[in-house]
């Protein structure tokens, strides 16, 4: 592949962070002397599937953490559908439509698959805090949870304890829970890492259907380039916390700086 003129790939995002579904300006996160996220400008338009790629340690997960306020940003602003949410507490964000899944399979381990999803549905329906001491929980929450499990294909495993699921099923459960928050913007952190070919296919199909059928805006941290190339609309490349390039997969592929960062000069893989 010949080198594409690097001016067609943008360093920063085109488009205004404030009109995008999810955007940031100058987003920075420092840990002592280390800058994990460095002046990141982001503007993901409504309905786009944006892949975030970069070498290990590039700050991708930290970026997600700052976007969801699992970590407080050191500097910069975050916008959700045009509204500034930089300091909005973590637990408020799913209620505004921003959800995520985790790379490390975060689940409610001892609870059943159904209960994992049901409790999220209940939370979204009743708010971040609800002093509801009566009854056992609305049956409609349970119904909705079953519907979501159906959409990800985990219905037959609904009574299994979460920690006993296979890796791939745990991933799908994580995505199901994120979907249960009824998001408009969904952040997925390496959803296919550690999965076998079969499971990877299932998860990828799920992501695609979520993107197309539900019309969600998706940010996807991925290492698997095949997936990145096949399903993403655009790609943002991070290296050492900074945005190296943003563009379509093909544009980014040919970018010399990106190649340098990944391969240190060798271009066989791309």
């Amino acid at each position: 592949m010949s080198e594409t003129d690097t001016s067609t790939t943008e360093r920063a995002d085109t488009g205004d962070a404030q009109t995008a579904a999810l955007g940031s300006t100058g987003l920075t996160k420092r840990f002592g002397g280390i800058v994990a996220v460095d002046d990141v400008d982001l503007a993901v338009p409504e309905g786009e599937l944006r892949a975030i790629i970069g070498p290990n340690g590039a700050g991708k997960t930290t970026l997600f953490n700052v976007l969801t306020h699992a970590l407080a940003p050191t500097d910069g602003t975050v916008y959700l559908h045009g509204e500034e949410i930089t300091d909005l507490p973590q637990e408020q964000r799913p209620h505004r439509g921003l959800a995520r899944s985790f790379q490390s399979n975060q689940l409610f381990n001892e609870l059943s698959v159904l209960e994992n999803v049901r409790v999220v549905v209940q939370t979204i329906e009743s708010g971040p805090f609800s002093f509801d001491l009566l009854g056992e929980g609305r049956s409609q929450h349970r119904e909705q949870a079953l519907d979501i499990l159906d959409s990800v294909g985990l219905t037959d495993k609904r009574d299994v304890t979460a920690k006993n699921l296979s890796h791939g099923d745990q991933r799908r459960l994580g995505i199901a829970m994120a979907l249960a928050t009824d998001p408009s913007v969904l952040l997925l952190d390496e959803p296919t890492s550690g999965l076998g070919t079969n499971e990877t296919g299932l998860v990828t199909d799920l992501i695609e259907s979520v993107h197309q059928d539900l019309g969600l805006t998706l940010l996807l941290i991925e290492h698997d380039m095949d997936i990145v190339l096949s399903i993403s609309d655009r790609v943002t490349v991070l290296d050492q916390g900074r945005v190296l390039a943003t563009g379509t997969p093909d544009e980014v592929r040919g970018d010399s700086e990106v190649q340098e960062a990944y391969l240190g000069g060798m271009r066989e893989e791309l």
């Binding site: 975060q106 001892e110 609870l111 999220v120 209940q122 001491l133 304890t161």
Partner: protein
């Protein structure tokens, strides 16, 4: 109803094998009812403890431990100062009765209200700190409560001797060492009032735990980072869990006040807070009846083993092996402590109740598969 058994482990897969779905749903209240009805007859049996009044203490401590487990088992918070709420319940009631000649009911209501306020305030400042800091802060507050009671402000709390006189409601009578309740001429054994009160307390806790509020607490216990990421305000849930657990503990304290006919400093000590931790973890923090079982084992052991002199196997009437154990078993806490450490190493959340249930389930499964056609 199977999602309930995974959620809050309120009973056993054992029971879910039975065809009666309703029985399974209400296994905790049913179990609690059986417990309060049968405990005293059980414990009074000759070869156990031989007398009945200890059943009162055991029931009250079971409720106290269950209230503690709302924090530990269901929310994941380890408090080292829970005795303070038991103490508030007992002391405020005793103060109302003896210093202000007030009625028991009014004093008890004030006790619960005060416990709620104190728990809420302490909860607000402590629950969001890390686990160790939380444990230490609750310890510090508990010690402060002990100090205040010892200091005897305005002569209210009686200092080191506590409150002993005039602290019994008018409707309690004592005849030949046994307590009775006398309501308008109708007299009945005090135990039954304790039983009813503890039953109510346990059912209230059960309802809290199975409610949407309680199920969110369980999610928080399982993975608090995930809970926050999914939109749960873990801080407010923890504060209210702390408050509710304090109020129920104080409720147990009001019952204890009548039983002990007053309030003593020993209720507020670190040892008391430590004992309830031991009972709960030993019994099994994952289960509703875990702390109940743990309280039983602990108090039973205390009573049974300290008087143990000879271990005769298999029966007193047919002695084959006999061991002189008088000296050793006076230090029963050593052995229970050892059991506790082993429990923490092997199955920290399962405890005695968990192991018991699992072995009964395995037994039940083996029996069933013996009968089943393939």
């Amino acid at each position: 109803m199977s999602d309930e058994s995974a959620t809050n482990r309120t009973g056993g897969g054992l029971v879910s094998g039975l065809p009666l779905g309703t029985l399974n749903r209400y296994k905790v209240p049913i179990g609690a009812l059986l417990l309060v009805l049968l405990l005293r007859p059980l414990v009074s049996m000759e070869f156990l403890l031989g007398y009945g009044s200890v059943a009162n203490t055991i029931l009250i401590w079971m409720l106290f431990a269950a209230s503690f487990n709302l924090l530990l088992g269901y929310t994941g918070l380890l408090s080292f100062g829970h005795a303070m709420f038991l103490g508030i319940g007992a002391y405020v009631t005793a103060i109302g009765l003896s210093r202000f000649s007030s009625s028991f009911v009014l004093s008890a209501i004030v006790a619960l209200a005060l416990a709620g306020v104190v728990a809420y305030l302490i909860g607000r400042i402590t629950v969001q700190k890390g686990e160790i800091y939380f444990a230490m802060l609750t310890l510090a507050f508990g010690t402060t409560a002990h100090f205040i009671a010892n200091y005897n402000p305005a002569g209210l709390t009686g200092g080191t001797t506590g409150i002993a006189g005039g602290a019994v409601p008018a409707w309690i009578e004592t005849e030949r060492g046994l307590k009775y309740v006398n309501l308008g001429g109708f007299q009945f054994d005090w135990y039954w009032l304790v039983a009813a009160a503890v039953l109510v307390g346990l059912v209230v806790l059960w309802q809290i735990v199975r409610s949407p509020f309680g199920r969110t607490l369980i999610a928080i216990r399982e993975n608090k980072e995930l809970a926050r990421a999914m939109g749960i305000n873990t801080y407010r849930y923890k504060v209210w869990a702390f408050t509710l657990s304090g109020v129920v503990a104080a409720y147990a304290g009001t019952i204890l006040e009548i039983n002990e006919q007053g309030a003593t400093l020993s209720l507020l000590t670190v040892e008391t807070s430590g004992d309830v931790i031991l009972m709960t973890v030993l019994g099994g923090a994952n289960y509703f009846f875990g702390p109940v079982a743990g309280a039983f084992v602990w108090l039973f052991a205390e009573d049974y083993l300290t008087d143990f002199e000879m271990l005769v196997l298999p029966l007193k009437e047919i002695p084959i092996v006999s061991l002189e154990l008088a000296g050793v078993l006076a230090y029963w806490q050593f052995f229970l402590g050892l059991l506790f450490v082993i429990a923490v190493l092997i199955a920290p959340r399962e405890g005695i109740w968990g192991l018991l249930r699992d072995s009964l389930e395995t037994l039940y499964d083996r029996l069933r598969t013996g009968e089943e056609d393939v």
